[in-house]
């Protein structure tokens, strides 16, 4: 039985499905953010505002980065950045 062929008796309870981590919503994107690491002060305002939790902060390396698997390219980070160091570029 393939996952796609389950009938109404075989489906899991309550429309449960696999983990949403497996949905790579990054491919909905038309624009992607790029952080200028030279100008970025690690204020983490973008990290707080990202509605997808797609901005990662590595405390040890003191690095803020984008997780492009999930970033939908909404541009909120670029808009909120006080240093204006996040640029939205059209996806290829």
């Amino acid at each position: 039985m393939s996952e796609e062929d389950r009938n109404w008796r075989e489906l899991p309870l309550g429309a449960t499905w696999r983990s949403s981590c497996e949905y790579l919503t990054g491919d909905w994107r038309t624009e992607h953010p790029i952080i200028d690491q030279e100008v970025c002060t690690r204020c983490l305002i973008c990290f707080m505002y990202c509605p997808e939790g797609a901005i990662k902060w590595d405390e040890e390396k003191n690095l803020v980065s984008i997780d492009y698997d999930y970033c939908k390219g909404c541009g909120i980070c670029a808009d909120e950045c006080p240093r204006k160091c996040i640029e939205m570029k059209r996806d290829e």
């Binding site: 996952e3 389950r6 009938n7 109404w8 008796r9 489906l11 899991p12 309870l13 309550g14 429309a15 449960t16 499905w17 696999r18 983990s19 949403s20 981590c21």
Partner: protein, 399 residues
């Protein structure tokens, strides 16, 4: 233990004894005493429940959805406009198959604004996929509280349950209530066990757990929505068996049986005429029947306890052989054919083999209008008369 309690207090004691993990509720007349009483238990340290005083009913049920999805035993209570405000989340709770229990202290819906009892609030949620029970008195309100957790959390059911008690008539009236000792009640209700779901080849608990992430309430488009809803429909049909089983089990430990759990037949065996109704009016009707029986009238009652799942076959068994049936509705279905209970009963009667009884609808008690013994006797008289009947009539209406 025998105590004097109002219906609302009886519910609060039931919730306390069921050892719920979370109560999220917003006060609204005539449900207020449930939440007031429970917050007293909380303040006295008598319960270790998480008490969430939310800012609206929409949030109350949302909090219960979250808690129940995390595996908790969740309870809320509301009435009328509060239930209407919950509407969006009502469907989400059942669609996600979360065993939440909700007491609804039945009250008329606005407008015009009214705080008294009728069934229009719960009828507006008729098709929501919740199990719906209507109780007759404070004792049944207490008993239904304990039973509802068992029904909702049963692994064959996994559906939310709302049970209605008539506003003021039951909620605010002091009655004799037999309560279990705490341990006996808890022993009956038990602990919530989690259902399992198969995600690919892995069988996991149906609960939010960071160690075993799973998505609850994901998108289900034209490709799968239909299958999910069909599965939900089957679950509520199948819950009838569980409700009957729990009614039996409850009867064995308390001596109190509510018919077969779905309907209760009162003096129907050799009856010619019967009333079909729900809620506190069933109690008044029983008293009327006893008096009419003393005068030799062959009258009986079919009390519908679970409006959803609708006990079609059980009602048909009760109706078989009757000459006339009066269906009493405490809410309207504006622009429809009579009230909602009438619609279902009349629909069911189509499956009755042989001669069908006369079936009439009586709308009564809207906005808390009294339904007296005299009025109920009048309904039996009307049903018996040879005169031409209206399909739908209004009891106690100025006309």
């Amino acid at each position: 233990m025998i105590v004097g309690l109002s219906g609302d207090e009886a519910v609060a004691y039931g919730v306390k004894q069921a050892d719920v993990d979370i109560v999220a509720a917003y006060p609204i007349t005539p449900q207020t005493i449930i939440v007031e009483k429970f917050s007293e238990f909380y303040d006295n340290g008598e319960v270790d429940t998480e008490f969430v005083p939310v800012e609206s009913e929409h949030s109350a049920l949302s909090a219960c959805v979250g808690a129940s999805a995390a595996g908790a035993r969740a309870f809320t209570a509301t009435a009328s406009q509060g239930l209407a405000l919950m509407h969006e989340i009502v469907y989400i709770a059942s669609g996600l198959r979360l065993p939440i229990v909700m007491a609804v202290v039945n009250r008329a819906l606005s407008a015009p604004i009214n705080i008294h009892g009728d069934h229009s609030d719960m009828m507006a949620e008729r098709d929501s996929g919740w199990i719906q029970i209507f109780v007759e008195d404070a004792q049944e309100a207490y008993d239904a509280t304990l039973q509802s957790f068992r029904i909702a959390e049963d692994l064959n059911v996994q559906l939310p349950v709302m049970y209605g008690l008539d506003g003021f008539t039951i909620s605010h009236t002091l009655q004799r209530v037999e309560m279990f000792e705490d341990l006996k009640a808890l022993d009956f209700v038990g602990r919530r066990e989690l259902a399992k779901v198969r995600i690919f080849d892995k069988l996991v608990d149906y609960a939010l757990d960071p160690e075993n992430p799973l998505s609850l309430g994901p998108l289900s488009l034209p490709d799968y929505y239909f299958e999910h809803k069909r599965q939900q429909e089957e679950a509520i049909y199948r819950s009838s068996e569980t409700i009957k089983k729990i009614n039996e089990e409850f009867g064995e430990i308390s001596g109190r049986y509510y018919g077969n759990g779905l309907i209760e037949l009162y003096r129907i065996e050799d009856a010619d005429l019967s009333i079909i109704c729900m809620g506190s009016t069933a109690g008044t009707t029983k008293e009327v029947i006893d008096r009419l029986r003393a005068d030799g009238k062959k009258v009986g009652l079919i009390k519908v306890r679970t409006f959803r799942p609708f006990p079609k076959d059980d009602i048909l068994k009760g109706i078989r052989g009757l000459k006339g049936v009066a269906v009493l509705d405490r809410s309207g279905s504006y622009g429809g054919i009579g009230g909602p209970l009438f619609g279902d009963v009349r629909n069911a009667i189509n499956d009755l083999k042989g001669e069908k009884p006369l079936i009439l609808n009586y709308i009564y008690g809207l906005g808390g209008r009294d339904i007296t013994m005299e009025m109920i006797k009048g309904i039996y008289d009307d049903l018996e008369s040879e005169e031409k009947h209206d399909l739908v009539s209004y009891v106690g209406l100025r006309s």
